[in-house]
Homo-oligomer: 393 residues x 2
Amino acid sequence: MQENKKIPLSEPYFFGEEKKTLTDCINSGWVTTSGKYINLLKNKIRLLTKTKYVSLLVNCTSALQLAIRSLNPNQDDEILVPSMTFIASVNAIFYNNCKPIFLDCDEDYLLDFSKTREFISKNTFKKNGYIFNKKTKKRIIALIIVHAFGNCVKMDNKLINFFRKNKIKIIEDAAGSLGSYTKLQNKIKHAGSVGDIGCISFNGNKIITSGGGGAVITNNKEIYNKINYLSNQAKDDILNYKHDEIGYNMRMSNLNAAVGYSQLNKLKLIIKKKREINYNYYKNLSKTPGLKILRENENSYSNYWINILRVNSKEYGRTKNDLIKFLSSKGVEVRSIWYPNHLQKAFINNQKDKTVISEDLFKSSICLPSSYSLTKKEILYISKLITSYAKKN
Amino acid sequence: MQENKKIPLSEPYFFGEEKKTLTDCINSGWVTTSGKYINLLKNKIRLLTKTKYVSLLVNCTSALQLAIRSLNPNQDDEILVPSMTFIASVNAIFYNNCKPIFLDCDEDYLLDFSKTREFISKNTFKKNGYIFNKKTKKRIIALIIVHAFGNCVKMDNKLINFFRKNKIKIIEDAAGSLGSYTKLQNKIKHAGSVGDIGCISFNGNKIITSGGGGAVITNNKEIYNKINYLSNQAKDDILNYKHDEIGYNMRMSNLNAAVGYSQLNKLKLIIKKKREINYNYYKNLSKTPGLKILRENENSYSNYWINILRVNSKEYGRTKNDLIKFLSSKGVEVRSIWYPNHLQKAFINNQKDKTVISEDLFKSSICLPSSYSLTKKEILYISKLITSYAKKN
């Protein structure tokens, strides 16, 4: 039965309310960048993330771009970023004519704060209240923290305070982490709400979708105002079309907000199911030698929007690529995790620091089907395919 | 009666089909960057514009950005652009780290080809098959032609051929000109289909809307492929997340395409009404000394998405700003036309060439309410307000 049906990697699920809110949009005549659902979605995100300000944008790439732009970077300023992230986090740096410094992650695919601390102490110096890179003599203006695959980074409060004191802003790429939480000094914080700016995605493959969309969350009014201004073509005098800065056309439409709002109403339900899916994969796969399903770390409450399987090819007897080919041939849509960005053709000449774990993880990890609609039976089917494919020595 | 009701500048109109196509999207599960309506809208635009390739994007700003990016510009390459345009045309140049050279427009708010020809012959030189700017010694790689306010530029075929031979690509900003046509050597061509790349907007204030959205039209397969590749994060190996270039997240969602498709089905009807609105303004206002409603030129079939009133303040006895204030106070939403871009704070240090008409037009022109829903009675009401406000000497 299952073999004729393709099991998708991560598809959205609609509960029905979306049709009502969309119809309401059309009836109201408000479909573009103003309207009821823009405000409803904003407020709901504010309440969920416990942040003061939310800006809704066309996607999370734009959120990351404007997050950096709101810091008023100079050309060739540098930004610390984990190599293990979707390319949008790095592209956003280049859109702003800044340069990345690639950092490594830990075994949880998350920024390694101890390596970051070491990089800062060995490779930078202070001058005029800023931190500079010894190698390039360029200023470091931000750190991007990526809460990868729904899991939250274990925050290093001391290092965060050091960054705060030294004008290194913290941007959290929480693209896939809506509904995920982290601990900071025993306080439970929503992903993206710890640093200066958080960026969230509502792309179709994420925990909830708005068709296309993203959000910036922040407690900093100045940053919020700047992002609003920039996302709306930097209008200084609307009646006369005067714009004092180079702005962008990046606001979310009310249509997309309507879908996002309806979906957000179901977030608890979705996360409950996603956590069950993760547990079932874990239960089915963890006894097979060489297989490891990513679980939340002790500091993280994960939304588990996507499941990551790590393959130790010596123990499992098959490589990651073997397994991808095998599962694909069986109609199970799987993918590699992100290619380390320090190896991407466009970024290869940029500075990197001990990015060995990122490379190891890439060689061994794949994304498994994780849609809300995935049944226990399908998880069992996929799990059996994987365990039976192990090559006994 | 009318005085209590605000008459909007340009609001979208929905016919009902939008609700059906949106519901269909949700039922199908396809809401992001794939789906039936993406293809339906693409095909419909291809047929309408008689172009080979259509790429659907999040908005027209993105269309302009990728149009330039698809030419593989070098840093500081220069692009000719009329000063009289919405700021997005110029921002798109800066997003690509290129520089604008501002040109003037004619009395129809459209690029003045004779001044452009003069600029080329006096201020540029040829080298290695390219045209260079004498003043800056930088290469000129493109000309942006703006079909402003639905009206089409009178194309200068000779100059276009000269540009073609000298590797200056022609990008048409047809943001507001869906359904507008121009003549080229006695052939009727849709706005945006004459040059190498045309850019169309489906913003809420345009002739039709998709909530938010834009399109690139072209007959050049290489440009089309490049824009598709770049708009989808430059994916070279999807399974392994390898990206060889810095890409962008700019594709239109199926949701937005569904609305755009429904609206495009009504384009003929909308344009018929828009042309009536223009004629009624013309009829009501043209007898008053000092007032002139913009009409299509002999080479243009205009969609009249928005109406432009030019005020000769000596003859009319009131300035443009007086009239804007007066109409606003009466609940009639009006705006200035675009501020000339060579005067914008962010662009003031860039090169300009004889941009006097652009400045004159800005000082004297306003946009009048032009929505599809505007009634004859409302047009009469607005017209009477305007004519009665004339100050007799």
